[in-house]
């Protein structure tokens, strides 16, 4: 099996799996007051400290959640509600046009049900929000913006955003800034405090932690309204009994992923470059999507994204799958029907280019033989898919 879909999810790190399985049979509700509860609480708080240290946050700034989608919902809805409550004029939500659906659809929901208006921040042909675009969007009505949300690195084409610069522009107007950094952690240096953002989404399963465990890093002074109501376990903004084994495994994984990030990034960037040159050598008209500058502040090291003219992405995926090579066409709706990617459309590509695209994403288990297998298969696969599209 050649697994080239690490951006969807990546295998758990053995140490994280060990942490998790070691705790699965240990009883304890971290909110209980007795010894068993205190033991569970200790695991949670040590994990919180580990996560905070790895990501440049204070322990009190780590709100543990059920993953990236929940963190995005909490950030976008929570910031919107809190800001609107403090100042009813603030109803504008500025969101990049290349966000994940967890942010995009949350913003659209606020527009449909909570009186928000959504401003889409255009991106350039590499998929990047230029600082002047954000500045202009804010300048239209600085007093009406509730929050800005721009992802750290794009899940489809790997484009890295100038987060610190964008956050500074928002802060100059007293506007809260959220970033979805689920693709960035483990691939790029991510430092919450240094970035200056108010809220930052992370999720375990993108860097070798468990599925269903994540966090929203939330500045100490940043107010959000809760999305999940109940026991108020996490800073009174997130309720639900804490998943102790998953949280501990999340901490183990983030610690390792961040520690190993520099070497991993270098190794993945090397593999990615040979993947890109290998594919282009076999399919000369393959079009690389995203930033052509492969430096780490421009593009995720593990990301390669192509359009293959004259092909349908789903046919390519199926033909590669039949050869035990696994990749992704990008966004899929709930029925599993591939839709042309909103990210590629926002970058100015047409529907045909969007429909004929494939994402290959590398991660900690990727090897040179994975790349070789893809390069060996892609030529005949593209040829066959091309004949099927006619």
């Amino acid at each position: 099996m050649v697994y080239l879909d690490h951006a969807a999810t990546t295998p758990m790190l053995p140490a994280a799996a060990d942490t998790m399985s070691g705790l699965l049979r240990q009883v304890g509700n971290a909110s209980s007051l007795h010894a068993t509860g205190r033991r569970a609480r200790r695991v949670v708080e040590e994990s919180r400290e580990t996560i905070a240290a790895a990501l440049g946050a204070r322990p009190s700034e780590v709100v543990l959640t059920g993953g990236g989608t929940e963190s995005d919902n909490l950030a976008v809805k929570g910031l919107y509600w809190a800001r609107r409550a403090a100042d009813p004029r603030r109803r504008r939500v500025l969101v990049s046009a290349v966000e994940h659906h967890a942010v995009m659809d949350t913003a659209l929901w606020l527009a449909a049900h909570e009186g928000a208006s959504v401003g889409w921040l255009d991106v350039d042909s590499a998929g990047r929000v230029r600082p002047e675009v954000l500045a202009a969007a804010i300048d239209e009505a600085p007093d009406e913006v509730a929050l800005v949300s721009v992802m750290w690195a794009n899940n489809e084409v790997g484009t890295v955003q100038p987060i610190a610069e964008l956050a500074e522009i928002a802060h100059a107007h007293g506007i809260a800034f959220h970033t979805d950094a689920v693709q960035a952690v483990g691939q790029l240096p991510v430092d919450f405090a240094a970035s200056g953002v108010d809220a930052l989404t992370v999720t375990g399963h993108k860097f070798g932690g468990p599925l269903g465990a994540g966090a929203l890093l939330l500045g100490r002074d940043v107010e959000v309204a809760p999305v999940l109501h109940g026991g108020g376990q996490e800073r009174d903004v997130r309720s639900g009994t804490l998943d102790v084994p998953a949280i501990a495994a999340l901490a183990t994984a983030v610690e390792i992923a961040v520690k190993e990030q520099p070497e991993r990034a270098e190794r993945l960037a090397g593999l990615r470059s040979s993947l890109v040159s290998g594919v282009v050598a076999v399919v000369p008209d393959a079009q690389l999507n995203g930033d052509a500058d492969f430096s780490l502040d421009r593009r995720l090291p593990g990301n390669a994204h192509f359009s293959f003219p004259g092909c349908e992405g789903d046919a390519l995926l199926m033909l590669l799958d039949a050869r035990d090579i696994e990749c992704s066409t990008g966004s899929a709706c709930s029925a599993g029907v591939a839709r042309p990617s909103h990210v590629l459309l926002a970058m100015g590509h047409d529907e045909a280019r969007a429909r004929g695209s494939l994402r290959f994403s590398l991660g900690h288990t990727s090897t040179a033989s994975d790349v070789d297998a893809l390069v060996a298969a892609i030529g005949p696969v593209v040829e066959r898919a091309r004949s099927a599209a006619q």
Partner: protein, 360 residues
Amino acid sequence: MRVLAALSGGVDSAVAAARAVEAGHDVTAVHLALSSTPAAVRSGARGCCSLEDARDARRAADVLGVPFYVWDVAERFGREVVDDFVAEYAAGRTPNPCIRCNERIKFAAVLDRAVALGFDAVCTGHYARLVDSASGRTLWRARDEGKDQSYVLAVLAPWQLERAMFPLGDTVKADVRREAQARGLGVADKPDSHDVCFIADGDTAGWLRGHLGEQPGPIIDASSGAVVGEHDGAYLFTVGQRRGLRIGRPAADGQPRYVLDVSPVTRTVTVGTAADLDVRALATGVPTWCTSAPPMPGSVLVQVRAHGEAIPARVEELSDQLGLRLDLSTPARGVAPGQTAALYDGERVVGSATIERTVD
């Protein structure tokens, strides 16, 4: 063989695919997404386009251990089946969307793509039999008379039949359900689908009204020529229909009235007695032959609706050389332009043609 099994999410296609796997074929399953905005759940016995059906199809593929994908044919289905359905009604004709779907989607768009991607055949859960002989492949009625779907497959040409696989033709439905149960397929007791799959609530009249708007006009009695009522749209009526006619007073002869003719241009619906519905001869458009054309003039059996009776008839080419003339030995009742006439030689499907008009 490399086989592409189309899984609707129902029991028939699941068992058909299971049999293809068991026969040793290299099977890949696809669910055809026919709507770009599928409903979340299935309502009653209708629909093959809901997310729940996609899930059921996926689960069947899991049980069979075969790869599963969703193929988006919504745009093509909308254009070639749904739009055609609306246009046919708007023209006063009575279409059969299942036939269009087989002709243009399942055994055309999907089959073409499958072949291009390296598959040898498309497998479906249709109840019909394929028989190979020296003279080629022939299409026959299913063993289960009640489920026989040869009528909706009679539009398939030889090149399509060559690439088709219908593993259920020799099995009765009750056995298919039992087999699904035995194989651990969760869809074993799922209700049969019928009616038009893209009209989720089954209200065809309401759906057509939504697409075509109100087009009121007169209802005229054929015997007297008098206007006997009004209607909201000629497209809401099909030949042979009795219900839904708003006729104020009973006819002079005291007999119930049926729709005899629908004329959208003049927005006129003509009604008459049951006896007026009897049709003895039909003229059709260009036929499709499943193998080769039968000798003409010659004798065939003609079926004009799914699960209708097969009537002995004489078939000959129309003088224009394009269509057929069918002289029925016993009258058929309520035949509308747009319906498909399927031609049989005993149990074997000879071919089909779209009915254009009745002939005196």
